[in-house]
């Protein structure tokens, strides 16, 4: 694996070692600073923009789901999240992979379907697999959660204090998998955090029109689980709430459900005409709900860093992603023979 660490503190991206590390059980002993989180968020934004560049050139097709606007949710996981925790993500997955420590270059190469990609170009953007960093994705809404449940069950079998994080969106909480997973995680008290990115729309359908009851976080009550809703545009708030959710799950108390309310700046996929949201609403969410702007303002207000230092962080992160994109674009696609490999491990003689 290459050494991209997305600007995280070195401790965060260590290879998964022995399962039990009591000294790290709190997760916050190496808590990222707000500037660390900002660096991560700028990297995430730059990464999504680098992916979007492949659309007009025809390098990538429209089946590309970008998460601009949702950076605070992913970056809020840094710190409490451990390298020996498992994460299973959804179709809008790049930011989650970045916070989990998946190398940026191999991920970008997979998204651009190159031979140096995580799966040599056979998975593509919604099927990222990096077992070294305990990260995987499924492109089917809701299906990430039972997979995470399986990881959580394995943590119990292993007598490990690792946990699993299953991520889905607001739309995913209407699937059977969500409810089956909540139920099973609760009856067996499994170390599972379900993180719901509520970006208000299941493709085009508004969450409030299709989610019964008082809300997503409140669905935890039905399963006797920990549940909380947080402002997903504020990385500090997400970090606090996520650490609580992780503490609950890691402490052997069963599943935690964290709903982070956020905005998806782009359409559901690249090419989505996004006519289901009013232009004024889309403009306002970028003006008032951009998590990067919120952090930037807070950093300056606190006086910990000045404009120059912020600009340096931005320039460095963007430059790194730009270099990666250039390198990926110079890399060839997989050989034709690759299409016929890896269906089975064992083929009869």
């Amino acid at each position: 694996m290459m050494g991209d660490t997305a600007g995280l503190p070195p401790e965060h991206t260590q290879d998964a070692g022995p399962a039990c590390r009591p000294e790290r059980a709190t997760g916050m002993s190496n808590a990222p600073t707000l500037l660390d989180r900002y660096r991560l968020m700028v990297t995430m934004r730059a990464f999504e923009e680098a992916c979007a560049q492949g659309i007009p050139t025809g390098e990538l097709r429209g089946e590309l789901h970008l998460a601009d606007g949702q950076e605070a949710v992913a970056a809020g996981m840094a710190g409490a999240l451990r390298s020996d925790d498992w994460m299973v993500s959804t179709h809008r997955c790049h930011q989650h992979a970045i916070v989990k420590g998946v190398p940026l270059e191999e991920m970008m190469a997979e998204i651009y379907e190159r031979v140096t990609g995580l799966s040599r170009g056979k998975g593509g953007h919604v099927h990222l697999f990096d077992m070294e960093h305990r990260f995987s994705v499924t492109g089917i809404v809701g299906s990430s959660l039972p997979v995470a449940l399986g990881h959580a069950y394995a943590c119990r079998l292993d007598n490990s204090d690792s946990i699993a994080i299953g991520i889905t969106g607001d739309g995913g909480t209407n699937t059977g998998q969500f409810h089956e997973t909540m139920n099973m995680a609760a009856i067996w008290r499994l170390p599972l955090v379900i993180l719901v990115e509520n970006n208000h729309y299941a493709i085009s359908v508004p969450a409030e029109e299709v989610i019964a009851g008082r809300g997503i976080a409140e669905r935890a009550e039905a399963y006797g689980a920990w549940g909380r809703r947080v402002d997903g545009t504020d990385v500090d708030e997400v970090a606090v709430a996520f650490a609580q959710a992780v503490g609950h799950a890691r402490g052997g108390n069963g599943p935690a459900l964290l709903e982070a309310v956020c905005f998806r700046f782009r359409g559901h996929y690249e090419g989505d005409i996004d006519h289901y949201r009013k232009t004024v609403v889309k403009r306002r969410m970028r003006e008032e709900g951009d998590p990067l702007t919120i952090v930037r303002r807070r950093l300056l207000e606190r006086g910990e860093v000045d404009e120059t230092e912020i600009a340096e962080v931005e320039s460095e992160a963007r430059g790194r992603v730009r270099d990666i994109l250039q390198k990926v674009r110079e890399t060839p696609g997989p050989d034709a023979v690759e299409a016929f490999r890896d269906v089975f491990a064992e083929v009869p003689a």
Binding site: T138, S143, P146, G150, T181, V343, F344
Partner: protein, 338 residues
């Protein structure tokens, strides 16, 4: 060597439970999930005693949540465990086909070979008079989906050996056990009654020529092997030599063994307790004709369930599934026609 079965009047469900127990002893990484497999020992008794022996964390009674626990198997496998999943009736796999065909079947490929999916799914199939939603075999549909191996044993020896091979395999395997077999004594079967006392496996993808004959190749699997053997016995008295091949698995499909046989007999009859169209019978005929060319193959015929749901009334079920009489008739027709 008659081993475990002979002295104890063991039935197939006991044999399966014992096999799973042997595998779980051998490999502490095996985790068994399913409905009613734990305390009750399985709806068909095919997991009896395992809960007591291995405990609730390795033999897990699940809620009725096939989507959830089939998806769990994916995470368990990626965490380095070897999940064995029971889908009580194969008909229920429709509830959880998504993780089965999108993740269990595809993760190795989609990860460029970096993710292993050593998942075994056991499911009961076949007609015993239990109507449209509990009688299917579905191996043709499952075989159609790339990335899944699909196995259907016919006799006691293979029920143990194929299951052990499936559990040991690094690939996902669906084992479809016939409901008609569970409560039958291992000694009652016309073949495969000799069960070695030690552990053994039967390789996946190797057909078994269970009867030699020179006039007709009859390829089949699961309980239809027994019915075909009975028909072959009758046809012998008519002077028709039938070579009966137990395919053992649909994926991998050992068309080479069938092709070799048809090269000698010139005729192929496929008997299949699955829907006729777009399935095993058409696939096997096509491969053999492709392999040998139309001049070598004098005749082909398919006997399978017609393309309709299995009716509830036993009298009607008997009208639609292959039986000895219909096998006889199909065999005589193909031999008589040239």
């Amino acid at each position: 060597m008659s081993g475990n079965g002979a002295g104890r009047q063991q039935n197939i469900s006991q044999l399966i439970a014992e096999t799973i127990g042997m595998e779980m002893e051998r490999d502490p990484g095996i985790v068994f999930l399913g409905e009613d497999i734990g305390y009750s020992g399985g709806t068909f008794g095919a997991s009896r005693d395992l809960f007591r022996r291995f405990g609730e964390w390795r033999v897990r009674d699940t809620p009725i949540s096939e989507m959830g626990f089939a998806g769990m198997a994916v995470g368990l496998a990626m965490s380095g465990w070897r999940p064995l999943v029971e889908i009580m009736f194969v008909d229920f796999i429709g509830v959880c086909l998504e993780p089965v065909y999108n993740a269990i079947a595809k993760n190795r490929y989609m990860s460029g070979g970096r993710v292993a999916m050593p998942v075994t799914i056991r499911a009961a199939g076949g007609c015993i008079g239990v109507a449209a939603q509990h009688s299917q075999t579905l191996w043709g549909m499952l075989a159609h989906l790339p990335g899944l191996k699909v196995v259907a044993p016919s006799n006691p020896h293979d029920y143990r050996g194929l299951l052990a091979a499936s559990i040991e395999s690094e690939d996902p395997v669906i084992v479809i056990e016939h409901k008609d077999a569970y409560l039958r004594k291992t000694t009652e079967f016309p073949l495969g009654t000799e069960i070695p006392s030690g552990r053994y496996t039967v390789p996946l993808g190797k057909a078994n020529v269970v009867r030699r004959g020179g006039d007709l190749t009859l390829a089949t699997l699961s309980t239809m092997v027994e019915k075909s053997l009975a028909a072959a016995e009758v046809l012998q008295t008519d002077g028709i030599g039938v070579e009966v091949i137990d395919l053992r698995s649909v994926v991998p499909l050992d068309d080479a063994t069938v092709t070799d046989s048809v090269a000698r007999t010139g005729r192929l009859l496929v008997v299949d307790e699955d829907y006729l169209s777009f399935g095993l019978s058409g696939e096997l005929v096509a491969r053999v004709v492709e392999n040998l060319g139309p001049t070598v193959v004098k005749g082909v015929s398919r006997l399978a369930n017609p393309d309709l749901p299995i009716p509830a009334a036993l009298s009607l079920e008997r009208e639609v599934i292959p039986n000895e009489d219909r096998i006889l008739s199909a065999a005589r027709t193909i031999v008589a026609s040239g």
